[in-house]
Structures are given as structure tokens and as C-alpha cells.
Subunit: 309 residues, 2 copies
């Protein structure tokens, strides 16, 4: 997969003043922004697990998703996107067309978020499509949002409605990068995570890391219309609320903020999102569901639990 | 592939003062070394193309190789290794054992080169093993070795003998990181590339990038004993020299230096390598083979040309 496709690709990567050595050498050389930390994350997507090519699932949407899930990780750190490298294993048959399709989805998203494509590795093989994106961002020292900073008394905020992403949003991920930077500029976010595997599961991870308990007001969990649609059409008895709590791939941000900050954020949010307070942080461990009448019960975290071994 | 294996892995990643936020969050946060550039490279290896698990090809050797080829890219930039992230798609059957084996090969190599494992992404799927490593290094501003700086009159140096790597060295890659830093401290290297696809092919790439011609003294090309062994045992008429010129995966460094520097380097090399002057840079394009009697002919670059589409 050397000369023709790689040359095609290199010719299409926009020059970027951050790159002292552009793609095409053994490695790229990036001028890191002065006085900032480097944020690094990687996500590898595989055909059959993260997407199924065909029909509406075009190579461009897969390319978009592969970069978007990494941008969402940067957003969850309160980081500014800087650069990405993209490694692919393309099925031999039609490899170049597939590679070009992936690029068609990935490049506009990178440009939209001011991210330079610093390089990559293009391979062909007798296997399904695999795409691994490593994203580099930057934050001021000590400013990265972590999972482990939630404190009892903080309120829990989610940046948008959840559930039913499988109906399409899991591909057309809209990473909350701009919104994260706008929030970081105004508030001291105590803890953050992006909702990749499920609102309740990712909340449980934040609570575990913070050594705290999450109390979820069931009536306040924002439910996406896609969650309602799934409940209506699937005949499996799963409620819209359960979809919102457990489907995952929403790629909204889940934040813990001091009460005054949380209320100020939802009262005057960054453009394009309608964040909601859906619970609070308490002393203890695990998750508690609170009903509108004040009664509570333990909430089992649910979501996309990757099957281990 | 969440909790058990990932927890096992996180517990084994050594703490590193360069990490402001260690692995286990949405992303890692790295303190970049002050006043240096960030070097980024990625290589994705697939079962069936880059290795065939089984027999002597243990998961640990594959893990070693996956990181080593990236370290070799950093060496080819004259860069100091800093951090890596590792993404894998593991076949579902025996995923955790395979993941642990990969870690067993990768972690000691990272430690040897002072590199911190900053994170990763562990997936399982119904496919063969895929491993994608992104390596981060650092160089002083303007000091990165590029491919495009060779000038007519420069001498061509290779850091060790080539050919026959398929007999085992293609797995037990010894990246020339320490040697590269030792060379960078003493000499202004004009151009550099690592020999991943074949001495003649990688030289042709350097010459193309530099707008120069490479003249190869055939009698001076250092031939690895493995190249001799392959010629002796394979019944295909490929000479040891041809193996040295075209096999690839030697992961030696190919350097262009001013004549005095090249002679000083081979006269007093860094410990552990025996660099050899095997040709020179001339005006023009392409490669020329020069025989011991002074006669020349065009040299067709040969090597591991990844099949494109």
C-alpha cells in the first residue's frame, strides 16, 4: 500500500504550521504549544464490532466515527485538539477506494476541530477493516479534566440526551470539543468522562475513580428521541429510560461540578447544547436511583461491557 | 475487554513522572520536555502480513516487534523516545493470555528505552491479531533527521549488515535509538531513514525526497550472515547481496553525512554497531550500482513493496 494511494493521501493533507516535519518522513515533528501539556488517546475500531460496512454505513461515516470518538476523549479531558495519526488495515479488495472513503469522512472533521493529520500507516491484508486513530491534544498544566475529582455535594450534569444511538448517532458522533473548551473557560469542572459505553456505566466509572456514590434522579435523565423510537419498535420491553442509561455511544459529556457552577452552566450553556442536571455526588460507593417520590434503590450500571476473557 | 484484563494491565504500567494524568482516564496527559519538538509515528501490524503466531513466534516477540518498529522510526528521526500508546484487536478466543503475552514483550523494551506506556485501547473481535503502536519522541527544534537533506558529495552509511531478516531478526528488532542519539550528539546527519522495506528501496526513497542520486558500491554493502544462510538454503538463485539490498526489516539506519563526518563515524562508532560506508550521493536521480572495477549500471530498487490497489 505504498506509492499510489499514499501519494494521493499525502497530497491531500493540508500543510499546517504546527508541523516542523510534515507527513511522509519516518515520523512527523510537531511544535507543541508552549506551556501546555500533551494529551494522548487512542481508539481502535473494527468492522463487525464498531460498525458494519454496507448500506448507510459508508466508509466516510466510519472515518468520521474513528476520529470523532478520539475527539470525544479529548473533550472529556477539557483538551484542545492538535494532531492525529491514522493507522488502517484495509481489506485487499478495493483497498484504495475504501481508504479514500475513510479520508473523505475523517479530513473534514479534523479541519473542523483545527486538528492536523500528522501521519499514519496504511496496510492491506486479507481481513476486515481496522482503523486506529491516535489523537493528540493540549491543556494548560494541571487543567486536564480527570475522572477522579468528583466530591460529595457536586451535581451531575450531562451535555445532552442519551439512548438509542444505534439508530445512527453512533456513527455521526458530534464530539463536544468546542463545548468542553467553552465550559473549561468558565468553570472548574471537578470530574469528566465521555459517554461511550453507557450513561450509568460511565458514571459508575467516574464514581469508582472518585471514591464517591452517584445518585441519579430517574425523572431528570434526558432521554433522546432515538431511545423512544427504539422502545416503540423493538419488542423487548426495554424502556426509553433504560436505553438512555445503558445504550452508550452517545458521546455526550458527563460532568461533576460544584452546585453553583452546575446551575450556572445549565442556565447559560455554550451554544448548541442543552446540559441537564440529572443527579448528585454523595459519600459512599456505587450508584443509587432516586424516583420522583424520593424513594431510592440501588442502580446496576449497565452499558456496552466489552466482553473480556 | 474492560475490567479484568485492563485492570491487570493498568496495575503493571510503571508510574512515570512525565505523566501528569496516568493511563486509566479518557486520555493520558504528558508533560512534554521543555524546548523540544514532539515526534509522532504509528505502525500497525497484522497477523498474516507482519507475523504468523505459532511456533517460535510467541505473543511476546510480536509485542516486542510492534513497539520496536516504532522505536526504529524514532531513531530514524534522531529522536529520544518518550511515550507510546498501544491499541490491539485480540481474537476473542484466549484474548487475555494473548494480551498478557504481548505486554511481556513490549514492556521491557519500553523500559529499556526510557519510554512510558501512556495508554491504549484493548478490543476483542472475531478476527486475527492486530496491534497498532503510536510512539512519541522528542528532538530539539530543527534537529530532526529528515529524508530530504542528502546532498551530492555526501557519503552513504548503514549502521549494520542487511538481508535475511525473515530468519528471525524481523521479530527481534533491535532499534538503533541509543546509537542514533550518540550519532546526533556528534554529527550533523544530512538525511536518515530506517531500513524497513529494503536497503535499496529505502535508499531510493531518501534519494527521491532529496532530489539526488544514490551510488551503491556493491562490494561494500554489508551482508548479514542470515542473507548468506538464505541463499544457501533457498534454491531460488537469489544472491546474498540481493538479499541484503532487498529483503527489508533490517531496521538498521541508513544515513547521508558529509564525507568527513561519515569517515569519523565509521572510524569511531557508538558502542554496539559497526557502520559501513557503502556508497555516495550524486547529482541526478535514481540508484546506480558500482562494481569493484568501476563499471556501473542502473540499480532497480527492490524490497517489500506493500501491495496497493
Amino acid at each position: 500500500m505504498e506509492a499510489p494511494f499514499v501519494d494521493w493521501l499525502l497530497a491531500r493533507l493540508p500543510r499546517d504550521p504546527r508541523l516542523e516535519v510534515p507527513p511522509g518522513d519516518d515520523a512527523a515533528v510537531l511544535r507543541p504549544p508552549a506551556g501546555r501539556r500533551t494529551v494522548i488517546t487512542v481508539d481502535l475500531l473494527t468492522e463487525g464490532v464498531d460498525f458494519l460496512l454496507g448500506g448507510d454505513t459508508t466508509p466516510a461515516r466510519v472515518g468520521h466515527k474513528a476520529l470523532a470518538v478520539n475527539l470525544s476523549d479529548l473533550a472529556a479531558m477539557g483538551a484542545r485538539p492538535e494532531a492525529a495519526v491514522v493507522a488502517v488495515a484495509l481489506p485487499r479488495e478495493g483497498a484504495a477506494a475504501l481508504g479514500k472513503g475513510i479520508h473523505a469522512g475523517l479530513a473534514p472533521l479534523a479541519a473542523h476541530f483545527g486538528m492536523t493529520i500528522a501521519g499514519g500507516d496504511t496496510n492491506t491484508w486479507n481481513g476486515p477493516l481496522v482503523i486506529s486513530v491516535t489523537a493528540i491534544g493540549s491543556v494548560p498544566p494541571g487543567a486536564a479534566w480527570r475522572r477522579d475529582g468528583a466530591r460529595p455535594g457536586d451535581l451531575l450534569v450531562v451535555t445532552g440526551p442519551c439512548g438509542g444511538s444505534l439508530l445512527g448517532r453512533h456513527l455521526d458522533v458530534a464530539p463536544r470539543c468546542h463545548e468542553a473548551l467553552a465550559i473549561a473557560a468558565r468553570f472548574a469542572v471537578r470530574a469528566a468522562i465521555d459517554i461511550s459505553d453507557g450513561l450509568s456505566l460511565d458514571l459508575a466509572r467516574m464514581m469508582r475513580a472518585s471514591g464517591t456514590r452517584g445518585v441519579v434522579d430517574l425523572a431528570r435523565v434526558p432521554i433522546h428521541p432515538d431511545a423512544e423510537r427504539r422502545s416503540r419498535f423493538d419488542d423487548d420491553g426495554v424502556s426509553p429510560l433504560e436505553h438512555a442509561l445503558g445504550d452508550g455511544e452517545d458521546f455526550e459529556l458527563l460532568l461533576a461540578l460544584a452546585e453553583a457552577d452546575a446551575r450556572a452552566l445549565v442556565a447559560d450553556p455554550p451554544a448548541g447544547i442543552a446540559p441537564v442536571i440529572f443527579g448528585e455526588v454523595a459519600a459512599g460507593a456505587g450508584l443509587i436511583a432516586r424516583h420522583a417520590d424520593g424513594s431510592t434503590h440501588a442502580l446496576q450500571p449497565r452499558g456496552w461491557l466489552h466482553d473480556g476473557a
